[in-house]
Symmetry: C2
DNA sequence: GGCATAAATTGACCGTAGTCAATAATATTG
DNA sequence: CAATATTATTGACTACGGTCAATTTATGCC
């Protein structure tokens, strides 16, 4: 017999996430300790792992919250400029740091089911596909491929650009970023036609 | 004063890598314990971390060895079929498991300097660029973008396909793989022209 | 309400990655 | 060949993620 989810369960989960939010805000994702989370949330360590498979799943859930909120206002782009703008904002949201990139790489697909990242990425790909379809219909973009395929390819290029902007050691980070952004623009132009 | 590298240093490093190779062969990357590595190599734990920043850097070095060997025979593809073949082989090499994908995501860029993965990827991108340039010159491919940009975009699509083939939990893995391969073919076709 | 069952929570405990002050081995210099 | 400076190695130690049998709390049913 499966029973209904207890209200206390959701409350506990929320307390954990709330504690996590605060810690990430001050110490960053890398600085988050599960001990600190459960201390702040007022639960035992075991409770944490009863709610989240491991530390990374917890971080992924937090990241999903943040990204979902920051991209909530996005709509399907109806012209080329809007599409470029959306891609640029996605890149900025994904390239915040190496942890974000790693979590996206691991949990943005089916592996992240139940954490929210997968749903977010699905939604974004749909937006992109819708935008591409509109512009193909208006004759403003080549019909070389199906909108869904182009959208997924665009997503892949954004991921790649975000990943290649993470250079933890050497050199001026601004230069690395600028290169990654330029690369993204050129790659998407190659994919969508000049 | 920087002195020359001691022969003993290289020997120790080799012993560690050799031990790692054996362990990965039997237990896989996820099953590798640093304790076991240093036991097999006959060194202390501290030595391991004097040679490799952390466990993941060590695994990345091992992966770089494997991939470099398995892709050593690749040459710049001179026609479309050869290019498709190369992409398919890259996909197969990268999509072996989730650990491989994660390591590539993290260390294939500048972050992996000194481990070999970055050099490998550079070489592969150069091969792709060379192939694209040849075919553009022969009029067999659109001149929409520079070869280097197209090559990097192809690399990104291969990474994405490899990542999306990693579905650790649900469903028939063959179906997931087949979808990823189909996606890769469609995306590259969209990028390079039908 | 009272009993049985399922779900949530607890916290002592464990395994392993990673640290570091001390020591040994090698290189350089005069 | 000392004497000295660098680099490599050591292994006991720490920090932290993750486990699990025991316990508490809620739910469903009569």
């Amino acid at each position: 017999m499966t029973r209904k989810v207890q209200a206390r369960t959701l409350a506990t989960r929320d307390r954990l996430l709330e504690a996590g939010r605060g810690i990430v805000a001050t110490s960053g994702m890398a600085g988050l300790r599960t001990e600190e989370v459960v201390l702040k949330a007022g639960t035992a360590k075991g409770t944490f792992f009863a709610h989240f498979a491991d530390r990374d799943h917890f971080l992924a859930a937090l990241l999903a919250e943040r990204l979902t909120e920051s991209l909530a206002a996005e709509r399907a782009p109806s012209d080329r400029a809007a599409l470029s703008g959306l891609l640029a904002r996605l890149y900025l949201a994904f390239a915040t740091d190496a942890d974000t990139v790693a979590l996206l790489a691991r949990f943005s697909g089916p592996a992240g089911a139940g954490l929210g990242l997968d749903l977010l990425i699905c939604r974004v790909v749909e937006l992109l596909a819708e935008g591409v379809a509109k512009q193909q219909a208006a004759g403003e973009m080549a019909n070389a491929a199906e909108p869904g395929v182009l959208a997924e390819a665009l997503m892949a290029l954004v991921f790649h650009a975000a990943a290649s902007a993470q250079c933890p050691v050497h050199g001026d980070p601004d230069i690395v970023r600028t290169r990654a952004e330029k690369l993204l623009r050129q790659m998407t132009a190659a994919l969508l036609g000049a």
